[in-house]
Assembly symmetry: C2
Homo-oligomer: 450 residues x 2
C-alpha cells in the first residue's frame, strides 16, 4: 500500500510542477504565433537551424498572405531554373488532397524540362476534402505563379498543409504572387523552412555536398511536420534541392528507393496525412558533369548524400513529434525479408503501450514482445531477442539470464534510445524512428482546440 501512496505523491509533484509551468506561461507574454500555442520548442530540437548552401538555379521568397494565421509568413515560392529535373513521392491516402493529385498528374505528364519550374506551398489550410473547389484553388494558385514567373502552369507544383475540409482562400495566395516573384532570393531557404511550418516548434533543414567530376554537387532540403494545435493532422512536406544534372526518371528512381528507409520509416502517431509530399528538384546548374551512368561512382555518392539529407530531415520531423520527449530508433534484425523487418519495427514504433512505457522511462520489454506478436511479421517466440541499447533483456523466448531491472531502468532515462529486436529467422534488417507518447500529445490534440 505504501507503494501506492508513493505513486500519488509523485503524481502530485508532477502536477505541481506542471501547474507552476502553466502559471508562468499565464503570467508571461503570449507565444509568438497562434500556431505554436502551448508548445515551446521541442526538447529534441537541434541547437540551431543549419547553415544551408545556396543551390545554383533555385531562389526562394515568402509572404504573409493571411491564409489562416496572422503575423507570420505562410506562403513560400521556390523558382527553379530551366532544365530542372523534378521527382516526387506522395501520400497513398485514398482521400489525398487536391494539390497532391495535381502534383502527381503533372509529374506523370513529365512536361518539357527545358522550361523552368516553380513550387508554391501554403500553410494553414490543407485544401483537402474540398470537392471540386479544391482543384479550382490549385489551378488558380498555379496560374498566378505561372503568370508571375512566365512559366507553363504544368511546371508549377503546389502543396497545402493545415486544416482539412475548409475552402482554400486561394485569392490571398494569388494576390501575393507578384510580390513573391519580386523578392526571390537564392539564399532564402531558411525563410522558406519557416513559412511552411504549421504547428512545428522549429524549422527543419539539412544539406550535403559531394565531389564529382567537374566540381561539387550540393544538396539542401527543408521539411515541415508534425505538431498540431489547429484541427488538422500531422502533415509532412519536404523539399530537397540540388544543383546536380540528372534525368527526371533517374532522380525519381533514387527518390523512390530512398523514401522507404527515410520518410517512410518514421512515425509519430500512425496517422497518415492527406497531404504528405516530398519533392526533389535537380537544377543542373552546378559545375559537376551530368550523372548519366547510374551505376557509376558519382551516382552512388550522390544517392548516398541525397539519402543522408532525407534521413536527417525525417529524423527532425520525429524530433518535433507532438509532445515528444524521447527520440527512439527501433532496429529489427534477423528478419525473413525487409518487408517483415519494417512491419515488425513499425508495430513496435506505433504501439501506444510501447510509446507510453518509453514516456514513463519504463523498461517494459513485455510490451515489445506483444508488439512483435501482433505485427503479422514472421516471428518465432523462442528465437526472439530484445535489447535496450547494448543491454540484452530477453532471448530464447524468455527473460535474459543476467537481466537487471536497475541497469535497464537507468538506460531508459536517456533522451535518445535504441530498441533492438533480433527475430533470429533470416538476415534482413530495417530501422524506423519514433518518439514517445506523452501527456503533451493529448494536450495538443484534445485540449487546445477552441
Amino acid at each position: 500500500m505504501s507503494r501506492k501512496r508513493r505513486d500519488w505523491k509523485a503524481e502530485a509533484k508532477r502536477l505541481k510542477k506542471k501547474l507552476a509551468k502553466v502559471k508562468t506561461r499565464l503570467a508571461g507574454a503570449a507565444p509568438a504565433t497562434p500556431a505554436k500555442a502551448g508548445s515551446a520548442v521541442s526538447p529534441l530540437a537541434p541547437a540551431a537551424f543549419p547553415a544551408l548552401p545556396v543551390i545554383a538555379g533555385v531562389a526562394f521568397a515568402t509572404a504573409a498572405a493571411g491564409v489562416r494565421y496572422s503575423g507570420r509568413t505562410d506562403v513560400m515560392l521556390a523558382r527553379l531554373a530551366p532544365g530542372t529535373a523534378l521527382a516526387g513521392v506522395f501520400t497513398r491516402s485514398a482521400t489525398r488532397s487536391a494539390a497532391v493529385l495535381d502534383c502527381q498528374a503533372k509529374l506523370k505528364g513529365n512536361p518539357d524540362s527545358a522550361a523552368g519550374a516553380a513550387i508554391v506551398v501554403n500553410s494553414g489550410n490543407a485544401n483537402a476534402f474540398t470537392g471540386a473547389a479544391g482543384a479550382q484553388s490549385v489551378a488558380a494558385v498555379a496560374a498566378a505563379a505561372a503568370s508571375a514567373l512566365d512559366l507553363p502552369a504544368e511546371r508549377v507544383l503546389t502543396s497545402s498543409t493545415g486544416v482539412i475540409g475548409e475552402p482554400l482562400p486561394h485569392d490571398r495566395i494569388a494576390d501575393a504572387m507578384a510580390t513573391l516573384a519580386d523578392g526571390l532570393d537564392p539564399a532564402g531557404i531558411a525563410g522558406a523552412a519557416r513559412a511552411i511550418m504549421t504547428t512545428d516548434t522549429f524549422p527543419k533543414g539539412a544539406a550535403a555536398e559531394i565531389e564529382a567530376e567537374g566540381g561539387p554537387i550540393r544538396i539542401a532540403g527543408i521539411v515541415k511536420g508534425s505538431g498540431m494545435i489547429a484541427p488538422d493532422m500531422a502533415t509532412m512536406l519536404g523539399y530537397v534541392f540540388t544543383d546536380a544534372t540528372i534525368a527526371p526518371k533517374a532522380l525519381q528512381k533514387m527518390l523512390d528507393r530512398l523514401t522507404a528507409t527515410t520518410f517512410n520509416a518514421i512515425t509519430v502517431d500512425s496517422d497518415t496525412s492527406t497531404s504528405d509530399s516530398v519533392i526533389v528538384a535537380a537544377t543542373g546548374q552546378g559545375p559537376a558533369a551530368p550523372i548519366t551512368d547510374l551505376r557509376g561512382k558519382t551516382a552512388k555518392a550522390f544517392e548516398a548524400a541525397l539519402g543522408a539529407v532525407m534521413r536527417d530531415l525525417a529524423h527532425q520531423v520525429v524530433r518535433d513529434g507532438e509532445g515528444a520527449t524521447k527520440f527512439v530508433e527501433v532496429r529489427v534484425t534477423g528478419a525473413a525479408d525487409a518487408a517483415d523487418a519494417h512491419r515488425v519495427a513499425m508495430a513496435i514504433a506505433n504501439s501506444p503501450l510501447v510509446k507510453t512505457a518509453i514516456a514513463g522511462e519504463d523498461a517494459n520489454w513485455g510490451r515489445i514482445v506483444m508488439a512483435v506478436g501482433k505485427s503479422g511479421g514472421r516471428a518465432d517466440r523462442d528465437r526472439l531477442s530484445i535489447r535496450f541499447g547494448d543491454i540484452l533483456v530477453a532471448e530464447n523466448g524468455q527473460r535474459a539470464a543476467g537481466y537487471s531491472e536497475d541497469e535497464v531502468s537507468a538506460y531508459m532515462t536517456r533522451q535518445e534510445l535504441l530498441i533492438g529486436v533480433d527475430l533470429g529467422i533470416g538476415r534482413a534488417s530495417r530501422s524506423v524512428w519514433t518518439c514517445d507518447l506523452t501527456h503533451g500529445y493529448i494536450d495538443i490534440n484534445a485540449d487546445y482546440r477552441s
Copy 2:
C-alpha cells in the same frame, strides 16, 4: 492572443482540480487493491453487476492465491459437467502465451466430451514469454485441477493474465486447488468475474435466455479487460456458459462467426494481447432438446442469444477501456465488402487523432477523412459521407451544405457517440466500438509503474 490565454487558464483550472483530487486521495485511505491504483470505477460502467442465471452443469470457486496481488481473489475455477462441449477463440499473436498454446492444442485434440471439464484462470501473471518454464507451469496447474476434480488433464483449460515475462508461481495456484474444489458453487459466477480482473475497474457479466423445445436455454458469460497499471498490456479473457446441448464443432462454428462482430470488433488502443481468449462451454444439462439442425429455429435463436451476450461483454470491455470517458460506435456502411467495412471502421477507431479529438469533444471530421484515406479500404473521396449521430457533416467529397459547427459540437458532449461513415461504393456494413484517448490513458500506462 486572448484565446491562448483562455486555453492556459482552462488548463490551470483542470490541473488545480486534478491536483485537489490527488491530494484528497493522498490523504484518504489507499484503494482496495493494488490493481486499481489510481482508477476509480469507469464513468462508462453499468450501474451494477447484472443478476446472472445459474447454468446447470457449471460451478465456480475462487481463491486468493497471492500470484501477484495480495488481499484479493486471483484464481477462479469453473467445473463443467460430463458431456460439456467446449469451443474457443484465441489471439493470433505470434508471441502468444503458454496457456493459449495449450488451450489450442487441447481443443484441437477434441478429447472425449463424456468426461467432465474445468477452466482455471489466474490474474496477476500472464505466463507469456516465459520459455519452457511457461509450458511446465500450465501442465502443473492443469495436473492439480485434474487431480482435485478427478478429470483427465486434457480436459482442463487454463488462462493467465497479467505481467509478461515473469515466471508464473504455479505452486501457489496448485496449492489452492483442493480448497477451490471444495468450495464449488453453482451460483458463484459473480465472484469468478472479480477473480479474473487485473486492472479492470468493474466486473463484467451478461446473460440471455431463449425458449426452446423441452424448456429454456440459458447463457451466462463473464469477461475481463482492459485496464492496466501493473506493467502488462490490455488483455481480454472471456468465458460464456450455457446449458444448451450442442456438438463442439457446431459450437465452435457459431463462436468463430460471432467473434468477428463482437470481440474482434472492439479496440481500446490497437495493441493485441498475447493472452486473449474466449471459451464457450455448453454443458447439455438444461431441459431443452439438443440443437442438431443448425439451420433450425432454435439454432438461430441460440446463436442470436449467444451473440447478444458476447456483444454485451465486448462492449463492457470498451466501457472499461483505459482512461475512457466516451463510448463510441463507428459504423461503416456502403462498403465494397465486409472486410473493407471492418478495415475502415478499425482505422477510424484506432486513430490517435480521432480518439483525442473525441476526448476533446472536438467535431474534427477532417481526421475521419484522414483515417478513411489511410485505411487501405476501397474508398472514393467524392462518394464519402460522414455523420455524427444523425447530423450529416460531409458528403460528396466536401463539407455538407448545411453544416453547423455548433450543432455538432453540442452532440460531441454526449457520453455515447455514433460516428457514421458511408463509403458510397457497395452494400456491406460493419460496426466497431471504441473509447476516447485521454490523459487517463497516459497516466495509467506511463506514470504509474513503480
